[in-house]
Homo-oligomer: 262 residues x 4
């Protein structure tokens, strides 16, 4: 059964900026979705900011294995409710791949708990991505390094929690470095951040970048059934249901059957 | 120069519940503050929910080295603005020690990016804390294990990101286990979660628990000057300021001097 | 194509101790291998200490996807050469699952770089394993906790490097806890340690334990081709082969084409 | 009380190579030791390969807080016994700072459990080190980046276990990147690897490098008393000494008081 991916695109600059529109006439989300579907094991749909609920109603997230997120100019236009829904889906087991300027998106900042800030420069300079974790599934089929001739620079320090794994590190012509491929686990969900993808360059048409995205979808996919019910619940286990016999003693705050404070 | 600690107490059950009031007549925050000050190298003040801005105006956080946080019944009464201010102070270098039911506090959930949920039982059962990281500074002077005869049970799975270090793991009489001492770094700030401390038991009068709290304050203290300015800023580095000579090429979104999107 | 697993068994107590022989008449390795093969996606063979090169010549490791290792009484009888060969295979991409008393085996200690010590008690007591990482692939299909009625106790502190992920934590009747399911990456290889499996109890006949082992083999399997050549080589990249133009300057130690020191 | 540091120097190229002798007439170890002692809180001695037991008898390690290790041409000349002794001291709480080509030293490889390999080029090119963990104690007083005009290149992938923290990442003129400041904990000991320091360049005369080394010594110092006795021992806890009452049941391998297998 193919992996069900949804590519979320902000779809703002594609509509307003002629340069971006020329590179991605169908929108970046459609270019990415087509790349994902290319080897047959991933079924890729799209969703955009402009759709009702940004194209991400709860039922749709429930049947999405991996969500990819590209946003830049309109992070604030994403509703808090949808951002929280995405975080909850990740905790319950949905994979999330955050792309480029999505480092400042609401779902990513929500899941990291840090500013996710960095330094940047838009000069069309050369970026070279180096593999830091040899044979990592996200790097399947890749050489030890590859080049994107024109990219925006992102520089360290990158305001993120220490990752589970550092997969790629970027070299920039102008003298900076950046951890450009990083993994985390959040609840039952796998999260991958991948740096390249400035909208004024044809990055998502690059064959190696497309390979990374397919690999990342496969890696982020957790085949286990989604965590049932509310992934944030904190169940009470009363004394008579304890795994080992235990007798209540001492004073209590809570009456039997009462919910805990949240 | 002594470390400047502030113990934040919700101060609700101490006022309403006679059991809690009898154990902590001055409030839990004052008991904890006195314990911190005991060896002279920590200067401990308190702050409570009921004070203006919950006792945590920006200027006070700016001169706080380590904040300790105990809350339970009134997490929602903490304003989002103060919770965000605490997170920003941590990113800028303030240490944060989250106690017991503070696992569901706004600042902790904000910094973890996960539900921070768990299972629980209020039965006054025995808890035994085991050291998992021998000679960790937070365990200075401690034996390999110690017992709290009456505690609330918290059980795994604990909905947190994988920690930087696992310092303590708890055994419970009723059959559960819990990672009860955990460290993370968030920006320039050190974060420690310490599980024990249910308000109907005299946990914070326990000498070993007090030793852990003092150790944790010393560990969490980052003596570096706080990150200057806004810890979330993302500075532009224009081409003519790049560390290596780089010539702008290709199309651009941004005009010179323009701020990036957030 | 099925995953190719090899179960390495020390095969000493099965030959000498009537209790162990009665529980595992074909040896523990054969019991484990049969459990692995049960769902058809894993092809499981065995190897033992007594075979030439302990059943692990280089060619065999080269075509092994995942090696499982159980040893106890005869760690020292394993040749250093074979232990190093196993480590090299892991660095090149072979998965390794270390079982129970294998915490003191040469390959595990070699890969961890720590003593891997613990406290222990052989009293046939109850062990309850708790899931600490909900929906982790190694826990697929498992409940939040499960019980082994008779097991040896292993207690913290466990002398290991902080793991990549804590999957299981054990509760013991006698009052101890232990991180009993842990993951690491070493080079291109995935490593999993799983605690249960004392030879005088029927642990490897337990259906849940067998499920964990199958899950772990699937998780540890890195489908990427093995790292080509020597996984420890440190290639020189001379100035005229540098990715960016660079001119040699300053004094040098090495002549062109010379190998580096090791 | 000052921190007691020992700088271990291989002291080979300083004796044989006129370029190195000119830069470090007293040997690199003495240059480094003088830099450490500069602010008065560190007492720095030296030890070299050529001394009996390489200058590191057990009694000396027992009273060393932090050991710094520089080796290159003669890794194999270090006796296995001394390398193991260093590892044991780290497990018991001694800090270890491994410098530059020490990535291939016996103690570092022993503690990492990985090949610690990398790619390299000796062309005197420019290295720029970027801070990846803002306000980390090891970076106290440092700017976000600093330059070494002449250095050897080390390139990713670096064959190490994922670190606890990534403190520095290097940019190289020739197009490579490298994680050049990394922390791990091994037992009770803190380990830091710091990349710069090729012997044909005056790196250890650089003020910023010297600041990093002093910071690193302070960070690596664990003030707790060294773990008593053998840091690899695995104590038996018999049933009658169990923290909770437990009755032996089922068959056993071991007689009362017997040592476990190792």
């Amino acid at each position: 059964m193919p992996i069900r991916a949804v590519v979320w695109g902000e779809n703002v600059h594609e509509q307003k900026n002629p340069v971006v529109a020329a590179i991605y006439p169908d929108g970046m989300h459609n270019t990415i979705a087509r790349a994902l579907a290319q080897e047959g094991d991933i079924m890729a749909e799209t969703a955009t900011l402009q759709e009702p609920e940004h194209g991400l109603p709860a039922e749709r997230l429930a049947r999405t294995d991996v969500l990819l997120w590209w946003g830049h100019a309109a992070h604030d236009a994403v509703s808090d409710r949808v951002a929280e829904r995405v975080a909850q889906a990740v905790w319950a087991g949905m994979g999330l791949i955050v792309l480029h300027s999505g480092h400042f998106s609401k779902p990513f900042k929500r899941l990291m708990g840090t500013p996710c800030n960095l330094s940047w420069r838009e000069a069309g300079e050369r970026e070279r991505l180096w593999l830091a974790s040899r044979n990592h599934p996200i790097a399947a089929g890749l050489p030890d390094h590859f080049v994107l001739e024109h990219e925006e620079m992102y520089g360290e320090p990158f305001g993120i929690p220490e990752p589970m794994e550092t997969v790629f590190i970027s070299w920039f012509q102008g003298g900076e470095v950046f951890r450009s491929g990083l993994t985390w686990r959040r609840g039952a969900g796998n999260v991958f951040y991948f740096r390249p993808g400035h909208e004024t360059y044809p990055t998502y048409h690059d064959a190696t970048v497309q390979q990374v995205l397919r690999n990342a979808v496969r890696w982020a996919h957790n085949p286990a059934p989604r965590v049932a019910g509310d992934p944030t619940r904190a169940p009470n286990v009363p004394a008579d249901k304890a795994p080992e016999p235990v007798t209540e003693r001492g004073p209590k705050l809570h009456q039997p059957g009462e919910e805990g404070y949240r």
